[in-house]
Amino acid sequence: MKGLHKFLDEKIAPPFKEGGKLRKFWPMYDALETFAFVPGHTTHKGSHVRDGIDLKRTMFLVIVALIPCLLFGIYNIGFQYDAILTEAGRIDWLGEARHATWLEMFIYGAPMVLPMVIVSYAVGLGIEILFGIINGHSINEGFLVSGMLIPLVMPVDCPLWMVAVGTAFAVVIAKEVFGGTGMNILNVALTARAFMFFAYPTKMSGNNVWFHTGYSDSLTAAASPNVIDTYTGATPLGLLVDTPDGASISSVIANVGGGFDFSLWNSFMGFIPGSIGSTSVLMCLIGAAILIATGIGSWRIMAWAVVGGALMGGFFNYLGSLEAFADNLYLDIPWYHQLCLGGFAFGVVFMATDPVSAAQTTRGKMWYGLLIGILAILIRTANPAYPEGIMLAILFMNVMAPTIDHYVIEGNIKKRMKRAKLAIA
């Protein structure tokens, strides 16, 4: 590999170096070179040896943790399509009277998801490089994770241009204007989603966006001979809003429609419609296990968010048992089921733990996580117009995190002041 490095250094690098023709594009070259080779920079003063970890490895491990969610999300698109066919009474995958195999479901989903991933990375990294060139600083690795998160929180039918616009908005407005990676106040991927949620509500919420109902192009035409154009299917959270008075929660959950079953098991495993990567609690738990084992995600935030969500869910269960709230079905979803629905698990594991936008003090992380859990279930239940309460809860707590830290630190300062006074007295 020394030869490769020598080749880069002698043949490719010169125009990018000081005085070279392409000097402006140095950040771009630098990003690629340091991707391939950790530079031979040595310490000068202070600690002469340094930890093996760097930001690239940290970010990469988060991506590894996201892979189960990505793979399952791709598979789930095919699975949901097969379920729609079944519900419509057409068991005819590839023209044969059978269900799709899991591999076929996966192959069905891939052409929907991978372009979104590519678009998100291309747009996001493009903007990062542009800002790197303008500001003359090297390119930080922060977007490696955001670029994967953004497609995973999109509905499957989201057009690519919308992914591009949302990504561009988030990278510029949520990150670069504050100074880039490490300086942002809001989680970048959630900002993208929130922007699209409010800017293009018809594509981001409602009953029509959570399924892919067939390809119309020749590429996969064989896979979807009967395009179901106008299939309407909601997420479980959406469904409950439209439920007529008098129905019971169990009947709603059990009888949504032939192909669907929002039972606790299915919502835990993820066989339900929803944003691409966020339906499966199991996959989120695998991701959480990776993040916690490697020490990259804060277990405190995750644990306290789950506690907060459970507390709030339990409280609503209690309200639901009261006479006065008898016809609000939302209150009747058991708290543990609440935690398995929607993007709660995904948000808690991958979004709330973003260290830049979360609380930074150890005690602050506890309050930050707890309040995210409480707010997510509160928003979702008290205002069902926003079924994805977790998104708003995390964004709100991103804004509040510095305030939480302020009070935690203030406590420490007061302790020190008190000690100083005692010493004088």
Binding site: V49, R50, D54, R57, T58, L61, G295, Q360, T362, R416
Partner: protein, 452 residues
């Protein structure tokens, strides 16, 4: 009464090359040097010119701000060279040793309990600079009265010398040194910080307040011990001194002849047989390293690998250094898949759990090199500093307040209690490769300016 304090936060960096318990004589040293740069914030004023004859204990220069603090020659001979750097800054005062072994006579204090006499003897002999102060980690000012004097008897830094081994046979001198120090704090007993793994120092339980510490690095840092037992508030001063220098103080004040003996551990993965060497303060690095290093491109550090100074064989051992650490240079680029950021990294020691080595047994040691292992980035990961920082202080917030130069906030967050060395592990662990120790030093300098 001794008490025990357990410290959980921190980390031991497990390096290859700890010293064997053998004491060797260092090679004959012909040139010695005192480096004003070893004393942070000191402006030296020369007292002698090149070519002047000196005895052991003859003042070479003094502190411009406190002229009573003099720095004396560790040997008899002749001022060979005054090495200057940019802007004629004095870097080294070199003394060519002769064989006459003449020494200045130091007025012994008539009683070890007289603060004035002990102070004068320490100042005139040139031993005073061994006494440093917190805040700021600079040489103590003789006009202050410290609220306590601390001696951390052990270092918990990577490959640090074993205090019990180094102190063998120094009982009487150490005891004399302790009583001299307690005279300086108006009779208050010296606070002795002792490692739970050693027992040599426990014999002084009548002469000092002993506190036993148990825990990983930086437990041995005097700053941690001060914080845990008698934390420093704004306006207060604490003095501290290394155990080997307590011995020198004891010897000098009882014999009347300057003693600047030092046992230095030569350690690290690039040392062929790590051991202890008996030498003197200010001796040349090569008197210890020659013939003891492995082949290859390596870095010699005067001090421990977390806080020491980069030196070469012709340089001189730092005034306060008790070890020389030699580690490989890491100036080769690392391909990302084989040894870089995406490699499994079975040879990388990390305080994060992102390398498989975190499950390896504690007995496994690593040969780390000086590569940065990444490029400097903005703060991203949180909670890393807190894990290795046993103070009740918010390290990241303190660092940030220094970066934005908010003096009020630095004070509130406790900058008086810390020194750069206390942040050495934070600097090691930092994912964003931020040079935290330099930032802390900058913050302390800013505050020192305020006091001028």
């Amino acid at each position: 009464m001794s008490r025990t304090i357990k410290i959980r936060k921190g980390a031991d960096i497990r390096l290859v090359g700890a010293a064997e318990n053998t004491l060797k004589e260092s090679a004959a040293c012909s040139v010695y040097a005192i480096k004003p740069t070893d004393f942070h914030g000191l402006i030296p004023k020369l007292l002698l010119k090149e070519g002047a004859e000196v005895k052991k204990g003859t003042p070479l220069f003094h502190d411009k701000q406190n002229p009573s603090i003099v720095f004396t020659s560790p040997v008899s001979g002749e001022v060979a060279e005054i090495v200057r750097g940019a802007k004629r800054k004095i870097l080294e005062i070199r003394v060519l040793a002769d064989t006459s072994n003449t020494a200045e006579v130091i007025t012994k204090p008539s009683s070890m309990s007289s603060k004035e006499e002990v102070t004068n003897a320490l100042l005139s002999s040139g031993l005073w600079p061994f006494i440093r102060q917190r805040p700021f980690s600079t040489i103590a000012r003789p006009s202050d009265t410290p609220k306590a004097i601390f001696v951390s008897t052990f270092s918990s830094a990577p490959l640090a010398p074993d205090a019990d081994f180094v102190m063998q046979g120094q009982e009487a001198a150490f005891k004399a040194g302790l009583s001299a120090l307690s005279a300086l704090s108006n009779g208050g007993k010296v606070e002795l910080g002792v490692s739970s793994e050693g027992n040599w120092f426990n014999q002084f339980s009548a002469d000092a307040n002993i506190t036993t510490y148990h825990g990983p690095h930086p437990t041995g840092n005097v700053g941690v011990q001060i914080h845990k037992t008698n934390p420093l508030n704004k306006g207060e001063v604490v003095w501290y001194c290394n155990a080997q220098d307590v011995v020198n103080i004891g010897k000098t004040l009882t014999t009347g002849e300057l003693s600047v003996d030092r046992i230095v551990a030569l350690v690290g993965s690039e040392v062929s047989s790590p051991a202890y060497f008996s030498t003197k303060v200010g001796s040349q690095v090569k008197t210890i390293t020659t013939g003891n290093l492995k082949e290859g491109n390596s870095r010699i550090v005067s001090g421990d690998v977390l806080t020491g100074d980069k030196v070469n064989e012709d340089n001189f051992i730092g005034f306060y250094s008790e070890q020389i650490t030699v580690v490989p240079e890491g100036d080769e680029p690392q391909f990302f898949l084989t040894e870089g950021w995406l490699a499994p990294g079975f040879n990388k020691f990390s305080l994060s759990k992102s390398f498989p080595t975190w499950i390896s047994p504690k007995s496994k040691k690593f040969a780390l090199n000086t590569n940065m292992n990444g490029e400097e980035r903005k703060f991203v990961v949180t909670g890393q500093y807190e894990k290795v920082f046993p103070f009740d202080i918010y390290p990241v917030q303190l660092v940030k307040s220094i970066i934005v130069n908010d003096i009020d906030m630095m004070e509130k967050l406790g900058i008086y209690e810390v020194a750069p060395e206390d942040f050495a592990l934070c600097e090691y662990a930092c994912t964003s490769k931020i040079n935290v120790q330099s930032i802390i030093r900058e913050g302390l300098d800013t505050i020192m300016e305020e006091f001028k």
